[in-house]
């Protein structure tokens, strides 16, 4: 996939001398000017000004800081979680029980949280992926040129709405509105486990179904923005070639834009999945807690990792109970880390996106 059309950024290296000289060469028809003007008498050890050294140290230090920070997040969460995991009286990974009210007898397992989190996220992703693809194609290929920017701004506005507002809207407005739809699904497709009658009141709409739809709306902007950026980089020559062969607009998209942007789109969707997994407040507000375990129905209640932690957060008092939630947070951190890392590595394999 080495494409000559895609301009490569010149390789950068640390010191000004190394790359500035190369970059300047095409312009300088005379003798190349040495980029560091102080003619060093001892070229092997150039004089470095103290200001330079301090500034460089600060900048590099900030870089180190951020790397250390991620390590620290993982480390602190692990250190906090381990004692509670040791006190756990049920299996952390396979139990569906979650009872931390008595620090002397901690019983917590993440299976239920994991299932609800995954089902909400997958539902959100299934709804958001095709719509985001449509919007990204619309904004890059179909929208009238003059309107493309304001339209893109409208989609970005979705990202500006705070998640708590989405949550309140989902619970008080969307949930009740969805009742006829969910009732119909339960009545007619109830034999299918996903649409079975759930363990919470259907009328209130405080279900996985509502949460999934709201989270889908919330991850739309990120999937759209990243896919759009990739689609915009489709080499013009590919597009023009397709047009010259008599392709219709759709055929241009299908033969040039989609194959070029496919990896970017998949990566964008993974980023969206990462967001969905970690979405906290909207899910916390919408999902009502259920007394019975999650039964694979979209009309169940329950809690995701993030919403469980957020619900319990104001009452973190005993470090042992808090540790149980921190262990759940650690699992969430690992999950999102893996999903995001996959998303980045997909794009990193495609030099033409740079």
């Amino acid at each position: 996939m080495n494409d000559p059309v895609v301009a490569r950024r010149p390789a950068r290296s640390g010191e000004p001398g190394a790359e500035r000289g190369v970059a300047a060469a095409p312009h300088a028809s005379e003798a190349p000017i040495p980029p560091t003007p102080e003619a060093p008498e001892t070229p092997k050890a150039p004089h470095v000004r103290p200001g330079d050294r301090i500034f460089r140290g600060l900048a590099t230090g900030s870089g180190v800081f951020i790397v250390a920070l991620i390590g620290a997040i993982g480390l602190f969460l692990i250190v906090q979680a381990i004692p509670s995991l040791g006190l756990d009286n049920v299996n952390f990974l396979t139990s569906r029980e979650w009872n931390t009210s008595n620090p002397e007898d901690l019983r917590f397992g993440i299976l239920d949280l994991l299932l609800v989190t995954v089902v909400v996220s997958i539902l959100a992703l299934l709804i958001a992926m095709p719509i985001a693809l449509g919007i990204a194609l619309f904004l890059t290929q179909y929208a009238p040129r003059k309107l493309a920017r304001p339209f893109a701004y409208v989609i970005d506005l979705l990202a500006a709405v705070p998640s708590i507002v989405f949550g309140l809207w989902g619970l008080f407005v969307l949930g009740p509105e969805l009742y006829p739809v969910s009732q119909w699904l339960v009545d007619n497709l109830g034999w299918f486990p996903l649409f079975a009658k759930g363990n919470v009141n259907l009328q209130l709409g405080a279900t996985v179904f509502t949460a999934g739809i709201v989270v889908a709306v919330m991850i739309l902007p990120i999937i759209t923005a990243v896919s759009r950026e990739v689609f915009e980089r489709t080499p013009t020559m590919h597009v023009e070639g397709a047009i010259a062969l008599g392709a219709t607009k759709w055929e241009v998209v299908r033969t040039t834009v989609l194959p070029f942007g496919k990896a970017g789109y998949v990566s964008a969707s993974m980023l969206g999945l990462g967001r969905a997994l970690g979405e906290t407040i909207a899910v916390m507000i919408i999902l009502s807690t259920a007394t019975s375990a999650f039964g694979w129905s979209l009309f169940d209640g329950g809690a995701t990792f993030a919403s469980k932690i957020a619900l319990a957060a104001p009452e973190f008092n005993d470090p042992r109970s808090a540790g149980a939630y921190i262990a759940a947070g650690l699992v969430l951190f690992v999950l999102t880390f893996v999903v995001n890392a996959i998303a980045r590595s997909i794009v990193a394999g495609h030099k033409e996106y740079e």
Partner: protein, 304 residues
């Protein structure tokens, strides 16, 4: 002289442009309809959410008291009072967060663009910034909880909230600043070096000012984003219905926290406070977004 007596409409060569077959036209039309449909489908929730917030919250914020009073001393069902305490909390927590994260974020971006090159550290820094972008806000809050409350033994406070917000704001600042620094032309840097100006002074006096409008825009957008975050305030600060100016001690309200608190209040007063706080938060975020647009328009470097 000689004329072709055969069919005069016959072309010498088959036509270059043939009409598009019906099935291809149908497919094309279908695709066009679908992408327009996708866009319209996405606009529905946006309009719906904004309409809900406006319709329910707008009458509340017209009252002058809303902006000047707190809920101190009022019962859950008593109407009146305002959101001054929560607005103060949101703005101050956001501001403190910005004061900490902007220098760190800009320095990381400078490192990545000007110093890092293709070194291993630069690569892992880029990777970690990406990862930090994806860290859920609740995990950031839990991290600060373990450091600040469990290890340092300090209480819940507004400053802890700001620290958690820093984790969410830094990657956004780094990304936008990095993009801006990259598009500063190398010619400007070279001209500066040619005058014998050290690298750090070139960065501070030439590169940053050139990229300033973009950097400020990014900061405003990042600030707008973190002020709507609810998870950190939920974990790290307790709600107070009264005004608390002290960042380091005691419970402090903020708009998201006020909404979380009032959402279970079934009275009319609760309804008004809930949606009043929602529209106030949306307005503040819109204001910062507008500010970002204004900055990028007015401070953009003159191209001519």
């Amino acid at each position: 002289m000689s004329t072709n007596l055969a069919d005069p409409t016959r072309l010498a060569t088959p036509p270059t442009f043939q009409s598009v077959s019906v099935s291809r036209r149908i497919k094309n039309g279908l695709a066009t309809g679908l992408v327009w449909g996708a866009f319209l489908v996405a606009v529905i929730p946006l309009v719906w959410v904004l309409y809900t917030v406006l319709e329910r919250g707008f009458p509340v914020i017209l009252d002058g008291d809303w902006w000047q009073k707190s809920l101190s001393g009022l019962l859950a069902r008593q109407e009146g009072g305002g959101a001054y305490h929560a607005i103060y909390g949101t703005l101050v927590q956001g501001l403190v967060c910005a004061v900490i994260s902007v220098p760190i974020g800009i320095m990381i971006a400078i490192y990545l663009v000007e110093y890092g090159g293709r070194s291993k550290l630069a690569k892992s820094t880029t990777f970690m910034v990406d990862i930090l972008t994806g860290v859920p806000s609740i995990v950031a809050a839990l991290f600060i909880y373990t450091v600040w409350i469990t290890y340092a033994g300090l209480g819940r406070s507004a400053f802890a909230v700001s620290l958690a917000l820093v984790l969410l704001m830094v990657p956004v600042v780094v990304r936008t600043t990095e993009e801006m620094l990259k598009i500063v032309p190398d010619e400007l840097r070279e001209a500066s070096y040619a005058l014998g100006i050290p690298k750090w002074k070139t960065i501070v006096k030439i590169v940053i000012p050139t990229a300033l409008s973009g950097i400020l825009t990014g900061i405003m957008l990042a600030l707008a984003r973190v002020m709507g975050e609810t998870a950190p305030v939920l974990v790290l600060a307790a709600y107070a219905p009264y005004i608390n100016y002290n960042l380091f001690d005691g419970p402090m309200a903020s708009l998201p926290l006020m909404m979380v608190n009032e959402r279970n209040n079934p009275t009319q007063a609760g309804y008004e406070r809930l949606w009043g706080a929602a529209i106030t938060l949306v307005l503040i975020i819109t204001l910062f977004n507008l500010l970002a647009t204004v900055i990028s328009r007015t401070l953009a470097p003159k191209t001519k």
